[in-house]
């Protein structure tokens, strides 16, 4: 049922959109091409402007009304500094309102392009206002597939149906028995008393079979033994550990959909033993402008947590360091203190991909521990991985290694001493 409403909603929205475009396109003063304007807008303007709300610059929707002088606006877009320098009253007003932060000048935007952008801003804003607000439809429907509620309802229905079937079966059985009784065919009572005696006798008989007992005991011991063996080996191995983090940070979105390089945030991996969790100023590089998920109407509460942690107010765009408090992430990959691990050795020198140890992070909604992080796992990799000598002068002087290379044998990290104790334990 949920999906029906969803499909309906999507359909209706696109109908509205098409209708809206068609309607607004007919207006005489919107000479520009809104579709062309959209591409330009996304390329040039989104860093500082949004249609519906203020970012670094003003919200364009409410600002560019039907009454706005397009010629002046074109001049402003192309060279706002000139207008300010020329003491244009309107320009000065905006300039002062925005703390005298001058807008970038766009000399490369032609008059026609400017008209396109303006047209896009107008049409989009109109569409936004005409579109039904989420609250108005009364359907805060999930945006991706059926939600949990639907699943639960479905399960509930199935269970209910199952119970009904059971009850009906019982009723049918009782009715049948009644029928049989009435016909004088009911002879089950004697059998009911016999059955337990028989069963016990079988067990006793089986218990006297020494081979069988031995077999059962053997199986039991083996099962229990292998269970404890596995349990003990896996003590303190936390593969799959996926704690609830203070912010539901979706790696699948950032690293997967957006294809942001791991090292953009985990910059320590190249130069330090710690890959390091990014400090919040790295988040703010993007999230200063992005405060919601794609197509969402309201700011994301998860992104808001970044702002809260920094004491940042997205309205005034000011930081209040007294309100700042660091985010306490929960560490997933816990190597014991007794093992020294250095990311740069593996990422920079060995050129390993992060996924080798951390798994398909780009598909993880929330990160979990992918590798066991046991010493066995380390050593196996060190035994199997060939050292990449190419282009690293560090390895040129190693005569013994050269000899091996000449003999055509591969050189593993283990051969380079990579499995000796004090490579990791000191």
């Amino acid at each position: 049922m949920g999906s029906f409403s969803l499909i309906f909603k999507k359909f209706s929205r696109s109908v509205f959109l098409v209708a809206g475009f068609a309607f607004f396109a007919s207006f005489a003063y919107a000479q520009g091409d809104a579709a062309k304007g959209e591409a330009l807008f996304k390329a040039k303007c989104t860093v500082c402007h949004k249609i519906d709300s203020r970012l670094i610059g003003p919200a364009l929707g409410p600002t560019i009304t039907d009454e706005t002088d397009d010629k002046w606006l074109t001049k402003w877009i192309q060279n706002n500094q000139a207008l300010i320098a020329g003491k244009d009253a309107k320009a000065l007003k905006i300039y002062n309102e925005y703390n005298q932060a001058g807008m970038t000048t766009f000399g490369e935007i032609s008059d026609g392009d400017a008209a396109n952008i303006i047209a896009y801003a107008r049409t989009t804003w109109k569409t936004m206002q005409a579109a039904p607000k989420p609250g108005a439809t009364g359907q805060p429907a999930p945006e991706t597939g059926p939600g949990n509620l639907v699943i639960f309802a479905l399960i509930g229905v199935i269970i209910l149906a199952f119970i009904i079937i059971l009850v009906l079966n019982k009723v049918v059985a009782t009715l049948e028995r009644l029928l049989l009784k009435n016909e004088g065919l009911f002879v089950e009572e004697a059998e009911v008393e016999k059955t337990p005696v028989d069963r016990l006798a079988t067990i006793k008989k089986l218990a006297k079979n020494k081979k069988l007992v031995f077999f059962v005991l053997l199986c039991g011991t083996l099962a229990l033994g292998s269970w404890s063996w596995v349990t003990m080996w896996n003590t303190n191995v936390h593969t799959g550990y996926q704690p609830v983090q203070p912010i539901k940070f979706p790696h699948d979105l950032h690293a997967g959909a957006m294809k942001i390089d791991c090292q953009y945030c985990h910059s320590g991996a190249y130069k330090s033993k710690n890959a390091s969790i990014p400090s919040l100023n790295v988040c703010m590089n993007c999230h200063k402008t992005i405060d919601r998920t794609l197509n969402s109407k309201t700011p994301s509460p998860e992104i808001q947590k970044i702002y809260d942690a920094l004491g940042y107010d997205p309205q005034t765009q000011k930081y209040d360091s007294t309100k700042a408090r660091p985010i306490q992430w929960i560490r997933i990959h816990n190597l014991p203190d007794l093992a020294y691990f250095n990311h740069s050795q593996h990422v920079k020198v060995a050129k390993l991909r992060c996924q080798t140890c951390h798994g398909p992070v780009e598909t993880m909604k929330e990160v979990y521990q992918y590798s066991p992080l046991t010493m066995k796992w380390c050593i196996q990799c060190h035994k199997r991985t060939n050292v990449d000598f190419k282009g690293n002068a560090y390895y040129t002087k190693m005569e013994a290694v050269h000899a091996l290379l000449k003999a055509g044998k591969p050189v593993t990290a283990a051969l380079m001493g990579g499995i000796e104790c004090s490579k990791c334990h000191y």
């Binding site: 303190n236 936390h238 704690p243 910059s267 320590g268 130069k271 330090s272 033993k273 710690n274 390091s276 969790i277 990014p278 400090s279 919040l280 100023n281 790295v282 942690a309 920094l310 700042a324 660091p326 985010i327 306490q328 992430w329 929960i330 560490r331 816990n334 014991p336 203190d337 007794l338 020294y340 250095n342 740069s344 050795q345 920079k348 020198v349 282009g391 690293n392 002068a393 560090y394 040129t396 002087k397 190693m398 005569e399 013994a400 290694v401 380079m416 001493g417 000796e420 104790c421 004090s422 490579k423 334990h425 000191y426």
Partner: protein, 1017 residues
């Protein structure tokens, strides 16, 4: 020819006392109570078996339950806004200054964790003393004051400022005196702040007061040459050095610098160019300098004056009035010989004296003038600013204070209530002072009797500068924000004197911009930034003038003789006060690393003691550790006696710097305060006195590391030769040469290891090592070595990974090997012993005996020649330690980091921040030992890999090597024939300790050479 010279670590070993012989037979220092268990039924009885099973059951259950706890959740908290220059996991280094030395401070994630010498430091070229190494720990001292105090209760800075300013205004109007008492300040900016303060309050005065004072030298230069300066000495330019009680390798003026200079004429390089300086030491107690001397003559404090008079007479050729031969025959003969040697080395000779007596120092000046030392080995034109204390000025001030003439007092890094000889006068005088302010960062002895304590920042939290010697200006920059609510003293003085510049950083910058940057050819913002990187500027040296001593010596001689006569008071015992290398004047008494650093000579930790000559011990009926009462100068203390070979008969030596009462929990009541034995004479503090000794009947055992690890009479541990022998055959004593025996021929036990890439080895030059112990502290700081405390050291459980073994031997008259026991017996003259120091650490044997006995393979060999120790594999059988021929493995008897019995050291979250995060701390029940700083090796290799280049020689420096002011330790890759260490190990002097065992140690030692001439006394 192998020497059969007899070496011994302690008198117990030498005399083969029954206890020592008995103890030596046993594996453990204390008997293991097996007999107790076996006696009385023991394990055979019924009840013990049941109890055993119960305990076993309970134990298994309890351990299982205890193990069944949830894995703790670890938080990972990133920076909110990461500083640009900080990468978590990567250390940053900042240049700064300590005691005038340019240093580098290693910080991790914003906290200083290690002090390292700046390799370009003019004074010691990257070497640092143990004190400097230990100074980082004091930053994390939880007993530092956390905010200002008024009358022992917490106070705010605003309130304190208001109070002090209003008081000062009233005092200024009243016209009484204001005094700033400080230990020597060599910072130009601090001196300028004080000058500004005095300009604001004309009735103020700055008095420099040093607990251990050099006023005598400064005054004598004023008297002799009209220059009241502490000269800058150059031991590297001296071929013959004669010292009268100046412990210049341990504590005198600038020891780290002097070690570097001194060793330049004695190290491998110098020997290979057939050059070695000669050093003769006349002294009372056995100092580290005396132990390093080629010839050491014990003299009484009362004989020093006459010795100098005789030396002057012998050099000048005309006897001074009053010159008489010394009663001490050996010293008398030595003086004549020394005079000849000094004259022969004219212009390249240096005579120094440790005395703080003006007249004595004038005599020394006269001798140096005759020898042409001025302008060569002594520089008066580029003097040292390290000490400027004026004893008389301070004494006068104390009487003024007692007379009620002083209304305001500021104590800056001065603690006279503890270290002034007459602290009663000070306390009495302080009662009459209206405003008493201390800048101490602890509520120390003096601060606790002040109204206001305005705690100073620690030097690692401060801006500032230093000027140790003329023309050498170093910058002090903070490496961490003030940890507590403290404020720099200069800042406080600026505020209280309403200076136009209120902020000390701005003040320092202005001062440098205006006066100092230009001296190094720098200017402006760029110049300042360069300075912050390089750490110092060096101005051109002042031209050296000619100085000739021209005063009449008659009066001086009379004063010296009077003083000597006073000291030689009948049969009274003469007391010599000295500083220990670790504790110096006691300002860092609350530092556990320093308290646990064994004294180089006596190997005593955590205490001071009365050093008594072995013959006096016998004569007076003392045993080691007998507490004796020492009375003199109207003061008395009781200290345990220690038999110290080399101590002059009829004298005792006691270290100052101990017996603090308000230093903090570590330093409180460790030893006894010996400062009150000082006296003031002719305007200077005197460090010798006459005392009477009485036995109290108590015995208080000292915790020494001395008798540990007996060498069992093996003669291949220490090898020593004379310079003459060396010149004839550079490989003397080593056994190197054609007939060098190969002890690996019949190797049956060990497989040979390949070292395809690296072979990390070390070379230690015994002739360069002075035994100062800086390496021990550096190692503790680098490798998180725990402190165990006095009681545990007494049980031989100190944890140091590197130790300096000190071996005594008898004077063999330059004969070299004495082969027969009877001859050794003849030489047993405990007053004239020789000392060799040997840094001993894991030898990283290629055929390591420890590896073969480990049942769990916790210690194995690496392909890089290291003997690896995997702590978490170790189950603590201690077989390895038993099988180690060098006894360098240390066992963790307790979880020192987290055991309430050791709570006074490092067990709080704050102090733990000093730990090196790249080295794990070890748990109880685990063996540990030197890892050859494997974390540094790994980091060095990784750096090379990232930079795509081979590891260069010198890239990787181990902690002990890095701090050694003598450069005695060389570390590197033996596979590289051009590395420093390969060159050092190919030197003819190289030998391997206990080579005959065939364990193939990775550390080569170079034979100790002594410059002894045939004409020796």
């Amino acid at each position: 020819m192998d020497s059969n010279k007899k070496y011994w670590k302690g008198l117990e070993e030498l005399n083969k006392t029954p206890e020592f012989v008995e103890k030596n037979k046993h594996e453990f220092a204390e008997p293991i109570p097996i007999e107790d268990v076996l006696a009385g039924g023991g394990l055979g009885g019924k009840t013990p078996r049941r109890d055993f099973l119960k305990a076993l059951g309970f134990g298994v259950g309890a351990v299982t339950l205890a193990a069944c706890q949830k894995v703790p959740v670890h938080k990972s908290i990133p920076y909110l806004i990461k500083p640009e220059d900080v990468t978590p996991g990567v250390a940053n280094y900042y240049s700064s200054t300590y005691d005038g030395h340019a240093i580098l401070v290693k910080t991790r994630e914003g906290r200083p964790i290690k002090i390292e010498g700046n390799p370009n430091d003019i004074l010691s070229k990257g070497g640092l003393s143990g004190q400097a190494q230990a100074s980082v720990l004091d930053l994390y001292d939880v007993n530092r004051l956390k905010n200002p105090m008024k009358d022992k209760s917490d106070y705010g800075w605003g309130q304190a400022d208001d109070f002090v300013k209003s008081e000062l205004a009233a005092i200024k109007a009243g016209g009484k005196k204001i005094a700033i008492i400080s230990s020597t300040i060599s910072s130009p900016s601090t001196l300028a702040v004080i000058a500004d303060f005095i300009a604001q309050f004309p009735n103020a005065k700055h008095i420099s007061y040093d607990a251990v004072s050099y006023t005598g030298i400064i005054q004598s230069n004023q008297n002799s040459f009209n220059k009241a300066v502490l000269p800058h000495y150059s031991f590297d330019k001296a071929d013959v050095i004669v010292s009268f009680g100046a412990d210049f390798l341990g504590t005198w003026i600038s020891p780290a610098e002097f070690i570097r200079q001194y060793v330049q004429n004695r190290n491998n390089k110098s020997l290979q160019s057939k050059k070695m300086s000669r050093h003769i030491q006349f002294e009372t107690g056995m100092s580290i300098t005396g132990t390093n001397a080629d010839v050491r003559i014990p003299i009484k404090p009362s004989e020093e004056g006459m010795a100098l008079i005789n030396l002057y007479s012998a050099i000048s050729g005309t006897a001074l009035p009053g010159a008489r031969p010394l009663k001490n025959n050996i010293a008398d003969k030595a003086i004549t010989l020394v005079a000849k040697e000094l004259l022969a080395a004219k212009g390249k000779a240096l005579v120094v004296a440790g005395s703080n007596d003006v007249a004595t120092q004038v005599l020394v000046n006269a001798i140096n003038s005759l020898l042409g030392s001025y302008g060569n080995t002594i520089d008066l034109d580029n003097p040292s600013h390290q000490y400027a204390g004026n004893d008389k000025e301070f004494a006068d001030f104390v009487s003024e204070m007692k007379g009620g003439e002083v209304d305001a007092l500021f104590f800056l890094n001065a603690n006279p209530v503890y270290d002034y000889y007459n602290s009663k006068d000070i306390i009495e005088g302080l009662k009459k002072v209206r405003l008493k302010v201390s800048f101490a960062d602890h509520s120390d002895e003096t601060a606790s009797v002040c109204n206001i304590i305005a705690p100073n920042n620690y030097y690692l939290e401060s801006w500032g500068d230093d000027n140790a010697i003329e023309g050498y200006y170093t910058i002090l920059q903070p490496t961490i924000n003030p940890v507590y609510d403290t404020r720099q003293a200069e800042h406080s003085l600026l505020i209280w004197s309403d200076n136009a510049v209120k902020d000390y950083y701005t003040y320092v910058r202005n001062n440098w911009d205006k006066n100092l940057l230009a001296k190094g050819g720098l200017s402006g913002r760029g110049g300042w930034e360069t300075l912050l990187q390089t750490g110092f500027v060096k101005a051109a040296e002042n031209p050296k003038g000619a100085y000739t001593f021209g005063r009449d010596l008659n009066g001086v001689v009379q004063t010296v003789l009077d003083h000597s006569a006073q000291l030689a008071d009948g049969d009274k015992v003469q007391l010599q006060l000295y500083q220990t290398v670790a504790m110096r004047d006691g300002k860092r008494a609350n530092n556990p690393w320093l308290q646990e650093l064994p004294d180089p000579v006596s190997k005593v930790t955590w205490d001071n003691f009365a050093a008594v000559s072995p013959s006096d011990m016998k004569k007076w009926g003392y045993e080691d550790g007998d507490v004796i009462k020492i009375e003199g100068n109207g003061y008395a203390i009781s200290l345990p006696a220690l038999s110290q070979p080399g101590q002059t008969q009829g004298t005792i030596s006691v270290a100052v710097g101990y017996g603090r009462t308000l230093a903090g929990p570590v330093g409180n009541n460790v030893g006894k305060n010996a400062f009150p034995f000082h006296s003031i004479r002719n305007g200077t503090f005197q460090t010798s006195a006459t005392v009477t000794l009485t036995k109290t009947g108590d015995n208080s055992p000292l915790s020494q590391t001395q008798t540990h690890h007996s060498i069992e009479g093996r003669n291949s541990i220490i090898k020593e030769a004379t310079f003459t022998e060396y010149l004839k055959n550079p490989a003397v004593r080593t056994g190197n040469g054609k007939d060098h025996k190969d002890y690996n021929e019949n190797n049956l036990f060990w497989q040979d290891y390949d070292h395809p890439q690296y072979n990390w080895v070390m070379a230690i030059d015994l002739n360069a090592c002075t035994g100062c112990g800086a390496c021990v502290v550096a190692c503790s700081a680098e490798n998180n070595v725990p402190v165990v405390g006095k009681a545990e050291v007494g049980r031989r459980r100190e944890m140091h990974w590197i130790r300096i073994d000190r071996y005594y031997s008898f004077n063999d008259n330059g004969q070299g090997g004495v082969t027969k026991e009877t001859e050794i017996a003849k030489l047993e003259d405990l007053d004239h012993v020789r000392v060799v120091y040997q840094p001993m650490l894991c030898q990283h044997c290629d055929h390591a005996p420890c590896e073969t006995v480990c049942p769990v393979l916790a210690t194995v060999h690496s392909s890089e020649g290291l003997n690896q120790m995997a702590y978490n594999r170790c189950v603590g059988t201690r077989y390895c330690a038993n099988n180690c021929p060098y006894k360098v493995r240390r066992f963790n008897w307790f979880n020192y980091w987290n055991d309430s019995r050791f709570e006074n050291y490092l067990q709080n979250d704050h102090t733990l921040l000093v730990l090196n995060p790249d080295v794990v701390t070890r748990f109880r029940g685990v063996m540990e030992k030197c890892s050859m700083c494997v974390q540094r090796i790994q980091a060095g290799k990784l750096k090379a890999k990232i930079e795509k280049r081979p590891v260069k020689d010198g890239d990787i420096k181990v902690a002990c090597q890095q701090t050694c002011p003598a450069n005695a330790i060389v570390f590197g890759n033996a596979n590289d024939p051009n590395s420093e260490v390969s060159k050092a190990l190919t030197s003819e002097r190289t030998y391997y300790v206990l080579e005959e065992l065939g364990v193939q140690p990775g550390i080569g030692y170079q034979v100790k050479i002594r410059n002894i001439s045939e004409t020796e006394a």
